[in-house]
Symmetry: C2
Subunit: 479 residues, 2 copies
């Protein structure tokens, strides 16, 4: 018998409101192309519409949903629009949304195996599935000394890799005694900023991160890496970590993992490979060149929440030898002790990342893989790459434009030959139009536009229309 | 016109499946009391039921949902059961589940203000709402130099507080140069293990964390803190961080924040207050004693995903001066530059935590606060505390039992007077029954049972039945 004074949403209300919200989301998807991709609100505009204090008494769902429409929606930049070509994709899908909904509904805490065995075992299992799906080295399987875990972001995963490398290099002394300033790490001048942030967080200091020069394709130069490591060793420093990137954020450059790994091997340096967006491409055998040499890496990470139709957050992080990671991050206070943990027969994922608590994120990945099947995922990845390659071809054949970097997969870096100012104007006009959204970077010191294809519902027509629009705005800008 | 070869879930299918899943969740809630609270599967049992490889071709939703029922459900420990009294609550609610569903459906990335202004502004606004709701000091409002942010867990928030303290103490040198081994931090012998983990992660070393002695109520002894800091200063070390806990995990002890703050003030030491579970109690003015002295703290964190009807993850983290936090964690690569950021008029939350990417988590908190209203939330918190106090009274009046710590709010620590073995047997019998789930800790070296009331649907009858069961199992165990 429910409490007569309860303020909880009654079950029948939950059903009714839940159905309505599912419909709202379906309708949102249906009308998304009619909304400006980049939000047009000015700073403070959303807050100004919100009441200064929380309501004392509960409000109706109709009011809340009306405010979603009136206040929230204008402040949304539509990452799920098929005309979103900015940054990187964050491509959600129906199965992912429903898998995540189930996770919210079950509401379990997966910090220990025993706090919901299915949360741990499904995660381990699905991450094992991904190893052959992506052609990853078998050493990342949980059935050997390695294994995978779902983290929130590649930033966190890379931090964990750096910490494990730091501990391995100091024989687990830095965990107890802190850093001593002798550890050095390496990435390229094009590596994601999360590595520098991780160096700060880990107490190793950003001054101890070497930004190795890149070649004309923006990939790390192994000769430069080798030289820098030799210099550091000579200075009695300890090279403990190299991050190679399979698909840099800025231009989708691919560091030569195999050559880098050879150098790491000489110095017993931890090799971490970050394939945040591009890793998903390895679903298709013709794109597996991006992982060449991965069999020599100590850790690897990619984000299904970027390009694998799985809504944020869902990062996959693999280690070749899980004991380093666990020994680095393990804690076991009395109130978390339990028989399963003591038996050693189970994985307790709280020892695989920064956080203690964790959500049942494997559900959405499981839903996605089962709904699409490997072939369905491959189909859409191939389509995205095909669209981007078409776009790159159009750019190359228009004399006003140039490609600023090799377009190997789904990202095209291009610019007007007429200089930064013209490119800025073009980008601003395109984004102000509301019809598409793209972002920029700098390559060779020049402002460069990035056109990234990967949104779930992007089809050939969206890419064609984007190119037509780019051409028109360029012509208008010149007239 | 949709692509005829698309493998995406068609919109009408999404509606149909979405409605069915909402119904599944409502039905789950309705039958949850018929399921054993603690999962009974053995290690490996879930994995053994899963196929060894991912499907090549997509499967139907009916199959997937059938497997949720057949494979996943037996592996769930039901945190949403009203008979869940273990660890701490993770109390979801209808409005939270729906708010989170909307977040999944919108699928935005909130790393920058400009990547979805509503995601940032609603978060800042709702965290400002919480300041008067909880009677927090005004300095945590975003309208002054402070402000709040949603993080995933208190572990991450406390790590950020430690990092900001580390940087403030070294004038932001450790970010560049790494740690030098002179920084010391303090917590009590009862503080959550996340602080020790944070010390390791931050490169400060667990040896530099002082575990200050506690009094007979398991609260930090300010005199012991003062002595230890004096010793460290004498040894030319730098006290940079103190974590006071408002409601320890083990026994719900409350460190004397005001006295600790006075000592921190003398040494310009950063004071962080962790109120992970108990912070929510401050919704009710009669429980605000838990925050006495908080006006002197530098940072504060609590988890709506524990006791405020908001499903995981939703941690709130406040700082008195946001510039320290931002300066510690800020990065700005070219590809993230944008007008709004350069204008300085907006918050970019990527500089407030470890991760770069972030989900629109404010929606679920906003839904919860608006649905319940402040008074609705207060009502349920008061009920939970009332139930726990009743339970504590029953324990106190049964000569076989003793209370092991003061029960000030919703956690009761108790044990049989007859020793560890009997308590272990009692706990195992209770948890094996499937009718309730509670966990243990050690206090004064003795095995102690923890009875924590806070699940959304827990009513008086669940607590009454739990006590009856405890009494019966005790009698059976003695016969």
């Amino acid at each position: 018998m429910p409490d007569p004074k309860s303020f909880h949403l009654p079950p029948e209300e939950f059903r009714r409101r839940g159905h309505a919200l599912i419909d709202w989301i379906a309708d949102y998807q249906a009308r998304i192309e009619s909304l400006p991709v980049l939000s047009r609100v000015r700073p403070g505009e959303i807050r100004a519409k919100l009441p200064p204090a929380a309501p004392l008494q509960g409000e109706s769902f109709d009011q809340i949903l009306a405010d979603v429409e009136r206040i929230i929606l204008p402040g949304i930049t539509h990452w799920q629009s098929p005309n979103f070509f900015a940054y990187f994709p964050a491509n959600a899908s129906g199965p992912a949304i429903l898998g995540d909904l189930l996770s919210s509904g079950l509401g379990v805490q997966g910090m220990l195996w025993s706090t919901s065995p299915a949360c741990t075992e499904l995660e381990t299992h699905v991450l094992d599935w991904l190893v052959p799906m992506l052609g990853l080295p078998e050493k990342f399987l949980s059935t050997g000394p390695g294994g995978g875990v779902i983290q929130d972001t590649a930033s966190s995963a890379s931090l964990c890799a750096l910490l494990a490398a730091r501990e391995r290099a100091t024989h687990f002394a830095s965990n107890r005694k802190g850093c001593d300033g002798r550890l050095v790490a390496y990435c390229s001048a094009q590596t994601h900023s999360s590595i520098e942030k991780a160096m700060k967080i880990a107490g190793m200091g950003s001054d101890s991160l070497r930004h190795i020069a890149v070649d004309e394709n923006f990939a790390m130069r192994p000769d430069a890496l080798q030289r820098q490591i030799a210099l550091d060793v000579e200075a009695r420093l300890v090279p403990c970590f190299v991050c190679a990137t399979a698909g840099t954020t800025s231009s989708n450059a691919f560091d030569p993992i195999r050559e880098i790994a050879r150098i790491c091997g000489e110095h017993k340096t931890w090799l971490h490979v970050d394939a945040a967006m591009s890793g998903t491409a390895a679903l298709c055998s013709e794109f597996r060149f991006i992982h060449d040499g991965l069999d020599l890496a100590d850790s690897y990470t990619f984000n299904p929440h970027k390009w694998m139709f799985t809504n944020f957050d869902c990062n996959c992080f693999y280690v070749a030898d899980r004991k380093h990671l666990i020994q680095t991050l393990s804690i076991l206070p009395e109130y978390l002790r339990n028989q399963a943990t003591e038996s050693g027969a189970v994985i307790d994922y709280r020892d695989w990342h920064i956080q203690l608590g964790r959500r049942f994120r494997a559900l959405k990945l499981w839903f996605v893989i089962r709904h699409y099947g490997v072939q369905g995922l491959q189909y859409h990845i191939r389509e995205h790459v095909r669209f981007a390659q078409q776009f790159a071809g159009w750019v190359a054949s228009d004399a006003r434009f140039e490609l600023a970097a090799p377009a190997k997969l789904n990202l095209v870096c291009f610019r007007l030959r007429s200089g930064d100012e013209k490119n800025q104007i073009l980008m601003d006009r395109l984004n102000a139009s509301g019809d598409l959204f793209l972002t920029h970077t700098k390559l060779d010191g020049k402002l460069t536009l990035r056109f990234c294809v990967g949104q779930t519902n992007t089809q050939a027509r969206h890419v064609e229309r984007a190119w037509a629009r780019i051409q028109r705005e360029t012509a208008d800008g010149e007239s």
